[in-house]
Symmetry: C2
Subunit: 359 residues, 2 copies
């Protein structure tokens, strides 16, 4: 066995001890005589798994009691429809466009009502977060929508927008549980788990309970109604049991390692190592305005496309894989989520130094 350092933007690296535990439990989960994959989702043994996952998630994120936690399918892309279907009472919503995913969410919302971009950083290829301190939020806006960490572009909202009292909906897929957050500032906070938390095929949504109502748009599929899912504790139909289980293991791992405060410290330390190098070398440079840099996704370029290709290839040969940047930015991108060890970033920076000397 020869593990690599995997800088994939998602699905992404998971803690090695979580993988070992999942492998060890595979044929007989805690004396049940079966794999988690073989369990009825109506069984007590699975109910304990989902209950414990939710309890640990709530504890880690300090989720207030008046928020529901839902385990859903279909990825963030499906929530792009679910958000307007569940929240557009006035059929008015304001979107802040900071990248592809915010744009897709906006385009989906246009199907259902008067969705409008109130800010954008498209003018400079989404390399920064626009000033959101005094936006033209509409009086009757049902919500204001952001994508909080932009996986492709490597930006993050370090200050939440002033929504002028309107409900804030945030897609946190690529910064989920990477640091503590004040959940009470959000109306809805949701993310695909396949970056920081677990395997693909699961979204965790944290929704203030007054927003979970039967009053959804006509034609909303039952499965996209948050009330359907909340009333049944995410077990309206068979959920992605395996992903819930693996997320639960990751939550235990986070708790054992000091919770989200400690996760933030580790993530800041990793990011600092990489950004400091980017800011102090002559070959590579970051593509994002410094104040808006993500702790999770770090895009960088050499300025020479052929050299970028060479770098990605040589890095892979050295066990540093999935460093190719998204086509929207080009160059390279290192995603350094919770489960990326410090040593992985050290190895990367070491390799970059060596590459810079050689080129």
């Amino acid at each position: 066995m020869n593990r690599v350092y995997n800088f994939s933007a998602g699905p992404a690296v998971l803690p090695e001890e979580v993988l070992k535990e999942a492998a060890g439990d595979m044929l007989d989960y805690k004396g049940s005589g079966m794999s988690v994959m073989e369990m009825s989702h109506r069984s007590q043994v699975f109910q304990d798994i989902i209950d414990e996952a939710e309890a640990d998630f709530r504890e880690l994120l300090s989720v207030p009691d008046n928020y529901k936690v839902l385990f859903l399918q279909g990825g963030a892309s499906q929530q792009f429809a679910a958000v307007p279907m569940n929240l557009m009472k006035n059929k008015v919503a304001d979107y802040i466009i900071t990248g592809n995913w915010a744009k897709k969410a906006y385009e989906e919302a246009v199907k259902y009502g008067d969705a409008k971009p109130v800010a954008s950083s498209a003018d400079d290829n989404f390399s920064y977060i626009p000033d959101c301190s005094d936006l033209p939020i509409r009086e009757n806006a049902d919500y204001v929508y952001i994508c909080e960490n932009n996986t492709i572009y490597g930006t993050k909202f370090h200050t939440l927008p002033d929504t002028k009292g309107k409900n804030l909906v945030s897609d946190v897929s690529s910064c989920f549980m990477s640091e503590p957050v004040d959940v009470s500032k959000y109306a809805v906070l949701y993310g695909g788990v396949q970056k920081n938390i677990g395997p693909a095929g699961l979204v965790i949504s944290v929704i203030r309970d007054d927003l979970i109502t039967e009053d959804v748009l006509p034609g909303t599929p039952t499965m996209l109604s948050w009330k359907t899912q909340a009333d049944k504790g995410s077990l309206y139909n068979t959920p992605n049991c395996w992903a819930i289980y693996v997320c639960g293991l990751v939550f235990k791992w986070l708790k054992k390692n000091g919770g989200l405060e400690a996760a933030r410290e580790r993530n800041e330390k990793k990011a600092a190592l990489l950004y400091d190098f980017l800011d102090n070398n002559s070959l590579f440079k970051g593509t994002v305005r410094r104040a808006d840099r993500s702790l999770m996704n770090v895009p960088f370029i050499t300025g020479d496309k052929e050299l970028d290709v060479e770098f990605v290839k040589e890095a892979a040969a050295n066990g540093l894989v999935n460093l190719k940047g998204h086509r929207s930015v080009g160059g390279m991108r290192a995603s350094i989520y919770n489960a990326m060890p410090y040593e992985g970033v050290e190895k990367l920076v070491g390799f970059m130094k060596k590459f810079a000397v050689e080129h």
Copy 2:
């Protein structure tokens, strides 16, 4: 480790050698240096996994070239909305109601158009399949809908309904790949994989390609449009990668063991053992009309509710678990999917004999 015989209706038993392979690959899938859960869905190594899963699925089911195979999220329940959203051009659809799942599919379709039950077996608690040789199918029906194997009630369509030339849509969740089928008789055939094929959180849909169009109902979420998914080879967004991988392992296992013809033989042999006992003992009896019995789900009762409870309890103590019947039928239910070995059914029948003598 002490494996049980797991008669769960789903999620359900998986082949032990598949579980062992998944455990063995957990930290390093085929020299990639990572788990399948950690792989980018855009990577070549994952593309190979999904391509091979689709190729093996097509081979096993002899899927004609003019059918697309889609790997989707949200379970059959989500397809209850996707079916009308994608197919209701005339907003007319005829439903055959043979149990809870067909009824739920019908109720969802009512949201989107003129859905109508054209046959039902509700009059006798869904213990039989109605005569579908001459139904009042409407001239302008977009499709005729069935749930082919009724997990809760233990019935199966052994002859497909005469749809009078209309498109047949079939939910095959609980008989998926349990025997060969003639795909060309269906317009759409789909099922959740968590019974016969793999872990929960994945639906495989087989759709005749002329039915995959942009002409969906207004307000259809992008994720529920079959065209979105077909155009991107099920990779419009991150799919349930792990479930696709495990299904792929199950397909290899099926191929190695003689394909679906051999699966049918094994399933018939298992079912015969159990049904023969039910028909020839004085304590237990089946609840389904003989001609309509499922090969997969076998409900039975003693006629004494307390004795049923006692049976389920004692069976579990003997390593025969998840035999409690669904509340709609009561008593017991043995789900004997592809991965249930013959020895499991032998053990069950042996235990039933012993129990009958003792009570």
